[in-house]
Amino acid sequence: MHRGASWMWLIVLLPAVLRADDIYLKGGGKVSGRILSQTETQLEIDIGFGQVGVPMSSVARIEKKRSPLDDYHDRAKALARDDPNGWLDLARWASTHGLGTQAREAYRMVLAIDPDSAEANAAMGRVKVDGRWMTEEESYRARGFVQFEGEWMTPAAQQAILAERAAASEAERARMEAEGRAAEADARAREAEARAQEAADPSLVVPYAAYPVYWGPTWGPGPPAWPDRPAIRPQPRPMPARVPR
């Protein structure tokens, strides 16, 4: 038994007393988690791998309900710390129920007991090279991929992007010169506006530059990147009351 397993077990069991709520949004969509706080304007929800703030104006209804997260915590609570097969089963179950964070948590429990578990290592993205398990990133590097703007790709793909950008930039420069200075100023303003719109549209950017997802011609569209961690939108803080001098 590895020492790491003892404290990890406590982390797994910590939220076991919690119960989930389903928060249905007016425009569609749903958030399942435990409501930490609720005001007239805002809900703070723990979704099992972070917190999200949901404006009350977007909430259609709230239902108290058991969630897969509840089941996960109950099952984890019933498991012995030194039961690698039990944690492996739980990790598989969590993975197929869309609970990636909990799946990783359970796989870590397996690795704390059995560091050479092929399934747990593979599930954590590790690859065995020369008898040593490599991380997901190390395996990409070992296979010759490079990281460019937060995304892994072949050097050829990186060069293709740079060449495409250089060509677009050159074409834009030539066009700008042809249009003259007045038109140039107008184009710059429009480009700045387009960039601002793109920055504000999460469907066009990789929010965490973590793991891009490309949707094919037969299924999608969907999120542009895997939501490995929740987007916590900064909420405006109320202005402090002015203290009279």
Partner: protein, 238 residues
Amino acid sequence: MRRTCRIAIVVTGLLPALAGAQTLDEIVARHLAARGGAEHWQAVRSLRMTGRAVAGPAREALVSREILRPGRVRTEFTYQGVTDVYAYDGERGWYVSPSTGMFEAQPMAPENLRLAADQADIEGPLVGWRSKGHRVDLVGKETAGGREAYRLRTTLAGGTVRDDLIDAQSFLIIRTDTTRRVRGQTLRLETTFGDYKESSGLWFPHSIVITARGRPQALRIIVDTVEVNPPIDEKRFR
């Protein structure tokens, strides 16, 4: 002049032979028959599919897709208890994405709008492609995934170009190649289909793997259930 005409006639006559003695119309007809038949597909009013999207270690989400005539599609993506919705009602596309902090419906970006519109065609573009205004060309025959396949290039009426590789034995699609502009980059996407199963007389791939050329990541969609003609409220798309 007469000799040139004769050569042209002979070469034109040989083209189907070069492509494996199949003309474009024969390949499309056999493909549609393999999927359950064009008439059968045209009678489908709605579809609902559920499954899982797997993007690597411990990245597995629950996904669903609903399609309703005419031209409506809605996809849902649930990960860590958070459900994002992407919908298209035949004219407008919108999405709600609490996983990226968007709790109110937002208009879909043009690229996603095109993707949604292309997918809203419930029977697929090859059913009645001429009347839909698409163009289909037989590019040739090649080996894909160790199998002989016909490459058909379809230019959709909206401008999207896709290459379908149709298995020369089963006449089912084994791969679709498309090019998309994603975040300012031109990407070649390869979508590989497998594990075809029958539902209500129609054949659906239950394994869909999407890769981008030059990238290590892959998105695998495992279809668990398919419902043909389930009741779906049209309000779900608006």
